[in-house]
Assembly symmetry: C2
Homo-oligomer: 306 residues x 2
């Protein structure tokens, strides 16, 4: 089924203990689109870049089957740019530069050909832009997933509260879940957040895996224990892309299928962190992906007679 | 099969954000023995207490089928005492008091009736005492599991190195694994530690679950997401008790059975943290335990066609 992805397409410059990059392609929608493209070829992108954005990077997306009709290119303007430096433990980072540029005035225009999409993934953006997209769809998608971050909780909580009532699945990290709910226990946090709108909540815990909550059900997927995390940038978005891509390809939003989607998302994220930026996820084979999912099966599956 | 448990039996005084206790029964061997008693009734305890230790607490152990013939009671001396205060996040704590008392001169005498034990669990103690126990067994047990802590890495590394060569399974937490291996990545840490002696390594990550390593195999069990962690004291020992108790009761040390043992240990630990000290694990029903293991199945199991 068709998938609409909205979010940032941008430049990142990344420093980790393993090295640093020049400006490379980044942005939530980039990672989401690339990751979901391994599951469905009907990925429609809505985003904005400046004149400085290389045609080769747009071609990269298109070569993965991503429809870039909805990618606005603003003449005379510059693309969103983020630069960050990771600490030794890779769990914390300092933002060195944030230049909003074209993202500051982003009007998410949905091309006519994108209408009637079945699945909608709202990457991290201002909650106002996210709700605008939902408002512009003539038919509500079967499933709306949104990602957000603490930044919007700090400066746009009213907008965020409204957008939360419009989505089915919210994806945030553990600290954001605590901030949003004012609860330390993630179980309590999940209950409160699901009362704010989303019927499903994904709490990402980085190297400690991810939790999926729905009513009284809970599912946990670990992160794959890796010898080395090279660069965590985009891991959460790659996870989200695998999650929604798998759901769109199977067109099954049962809780059991969401479990599988979480595993596929986790598998995609485990690739992402192995190299800088998108490097590892632009050239995956189906065989590699299958082998990685098998690793997750071996990692957590056990047989017990109760 | 018979299980020999060696470790501290002690008094604890605990403060958490939920309240505080007077001196209550604690100690690694207490938690290990109680927890393993839900799986096997052949639990033989070697430990030492002072004259101040109440007969009622010894009866508590005996009522769970724990053989206390090897529990030395030192006339005119006092039991080991530990007091600690947990911070709000329950992941960190301050030690307020440590009084070694009888533990300072503990000579682990193994009663004749304990010889030929099939499984040996060495709770956290000085590595010298741990290796002494192994040396005093006429027949090597089928499986030797040891727990230790950063304290011994700081002050008795040579002894610890020697004891590590004598055991099959080492159980430590993530920070201890990093300290012992000088590696941040737990995968790299596990490889190094398994070269130091143990064929199996359990890395406990508290609320983030536990990892079991063996050669190139790895298994992960999450901690159960709980509304509230009331008191984490003894959770690691309760986990170890469930692990070795399950192995002893099934007498199967295949990797697949160790996975199940990790799940049973995790289930026992999830009970332990629900109340102060041993309160929750002294009165569990088989039905409760079965239901808890079922929660772990629901939490992590998924079906996928690869």
């Amino acid at each position: 089924m068709s998938l609409l992805v909205v979010g940032s397409v941008a430049f990142d410059a990344i420093e980790t203990p393993f090295g640093k990059t020049d400006k490379i392609i980044g942005g939530a929608a980039t990672y989401i689109s690339l990751s979901s493209s391994y599951f469905t070829k009907k990925v429609n992108l809505v985003a904005v870049v400046g004149e400085d954005f290389p045609a080769s990077d747009i071609q990269l997306l298109e070569s993965h089957g991503v429809n870039t009709e909805g990618l606005q290119i603003k003449k005379g303007e510059k693309s969103f740019f983020w630069s960050g430096r990771y600490h030794n433990d890779m769990n914390t980072r300092d933002t060195l530069v944030t230049e909003l540029n074209v993202l500051g005035t982003f009007d998410p225009i949905v091309p006519e050909a994108y209408q009637n999409c079945d699945y909608l993934m709202l990457g991290n953006l201002s909650p106002k832009v996210q709700s605008t997209v939902i408002g512009r769809l003539k038919k509500r998608p079967k499933l709306v997933v949104m990602d957000t971050m603490n930044f919007w909780m700090d400066i746009a909580m009213a907008d965020l509260n409204e957008t939360l009532t419009m989505v089915d699945v919210l994806s945030i990290n553990d600290e954001e879940a605590r901030q949003l709910s004012k609860e330390y226990s993630l179980v309590k946090a999940a209950k409160k957040i699901m009362e704010m709108g989303p019927k499903y909540l994904i709490i990402k815990k980085g190297e400690h895996g991810a939790l999926l909550f729905h009513k009284n059900q809970v599912f946990f997927a670990p992160a794959l224990p890796l010898e080395e995390v090279f660069d965590p940038t985009g891991a959460g978005d790659t996870f989200a892309g695998g999650f929604i891509g798998y759901l769109a390809s199977t067109n099954d939003i049962s809780f059991d299928n969401m479990k599988r989607a979480i595993i596929y998302g986790s598998a995609m994220a485990s690739f992402c962190v192995e190299k800088f930026g998108t490097e590892r996820i632009v050239n995956l084979s189906e065989k590699e992906l299958r082998a990685r999912v098998k690793q997750f099966v071996d990692l957590v599956q056990f047989e017990v007679t109760i």
